[in-house]
Chain length 250, copies 2
DNA sequence: TCCTTACTGCGTATCTAATACGCTAAATAG
DNA sequence: CTATTTAGCGTATTAGATACGCAGTAAGGA
């Protein structure tokens, strides 16, 4: 029960701080702070999250926050766990592929509510309660595949990376689009202007095929890209499961 | 030849600015600035890259830089293209799978030289000369697969996302490890302390199997993870190529 | 009950960074 | 030779993180 040995941020995420007995009643709670920061980020983006703005939102002074978090980075870590609410548990008896697709859609939906999530730096392997719940959920989907535990972890880590990467790209592009739509609709034309077919023959071929000529609705396009790439990765997992099963049968 | 219609950053990346005739000779060039910024980031990390530090490195004043770049963000965009030197062209007649593996290893090597690269925000689809060269290289590897151009683009975009995501995670974790190695070696123990097997059965199973008990050398582990995930994705591509080939045969 | 002490909120001050603005001087076009 | 551009740069403004220390509060012990 020695919380002292746990990394500070982990203890905070699980709210394991030994509640101090003496002194004034805190008028702020960690939950308040994290919630306010998340609301601010939702409303005005991650860049708007400053200690001062968060404190203002709570009607407190800036420095009061530092009684509850060691630094802004620590606050960001707490936000990153709190933003992902608990996953819906997977329906029972579902096959792994359907399960992981369901899971990936869930991640996408959860992060869509907090687009800044994809911009946060990764501070370590999943350790907060919500992140671990998602991790558990994905691992659980692989329950009946016969993969050894270590392989499940590898598969899920790769999937997380893929999913978060795809989301990050999609949101960054969408943000760039909102900022300067012209640059995007011109994309094909711009490339055509700049690409020398002798230097970049494959890009030139793509341009000639007109792939970049019209960029449809971003939301739809990126949703399609997301699922397309996801299916590729899931096909890869299927091949891997097959391979491991055969090795084992021998 | 109207450069005016090109997005400003693209024109800069391709160095298409119409060289001003009048006025004093510039003592700084854009290349100097970008090179200095990259050296600084290599040496002390992205956080050390401030306009002041870059200028200092060049023996100029801070504000002089603003004659060449509109903002720090623009400088970051220029850095992100300049940091990826040209790819080695793929050996001729190589099959797509070997080609993409070679390509992915090349990306990994290139980014390893500039670890901050993985932290940069994505500002748009590839548009700089170096980024496009890598894009071309990957597309070229799929030349003989019979995939339609649009599908090639989708496959390559997904691959880029996967590769960069994996690299980002690996470097962030490595940075976290350097900062606080204890937190990593304790990871398994920490989870064991905090995980309730009824709440997170799959994670508990992984812990019981001892998967997180010893975390080997990070460089090696992440290299293995990188290739493992890459192979999964490539298996997925193989399945996709197969499928498209069959559809076409019908 | 009163004192000790841990703990809270917060004012102040410092440091770092981005960048707007406007001046001066250098080239070159005409 | 003058008007026009443009480079470099000094100054000042704004924003943000966070160190430091004071003052008041409430629980535990005497």
């Amino acid at each position: 029960m020695e919380n002292s040995e746990l990394p500070a941020e982990v203890a905070l995420m699980w709210r394991l701080r030994d509640t101090g007995r003496r002194g004034p009643k805190p008028s702020l709670t960690l939950d308040d702070i994290v919630r306010a920061a998340i609301e601010l980020a939702d409303a005005e983006g991650l860049a708007a999250v400053s200690m001062a703005r968060v404190a203002e939102r709570l009607g407190n002074s800036t420095m009061a926050l530092y009684r509850h978090v060691k630094s802004k980075d620590e606050l960001l870590v707490l936000m990153s766990d709190a933003a992902l609410e608990r996953p819906e548990p997977l329906p029972d008896g579902i096959d792994w592929r359907t399960g992981l697709t369901f899971w990936a859609d869930g991640v996408l939906t959860a992060i869509r509510r907090h687009r800044w999530y994809a911009k946060l730096p990764i501070s370590g392997p999943p350790a907060g309660p919500n992140n671990l719940a998602w991790f558990d959920c994905a691992l659980g989907a692989l329950k009946d595949t016969g993969l050894p535990e270590e392989a499940k972890v590898g598969v899920v880590m790769g999937l997380i990376t893929y999913v978060q990467g795809q989301i990050r790209v999609a949101f960054d592009l969408a943000a760039g689009y909102d900022e300067n739509p012209a640059a995007f609709s011109q994309y094909g034309a711009t490339l055509a202007r700049v690409v020398d077919p002798r230097q970049l023959p494959a890009v030139a071929r793509v341009l000639e095929a007109g792939v970049f000529d019209e960029v449809g609705s971003f939301e739809e396009d990126s949703e399609q890209d997301f699922h397309f790439g996801l299916q590729l990765y899931l096909d890869g997992i299927a091949a891997f499961i097959e391979r491991v099963g055969q090795d084992r049968a021998r």
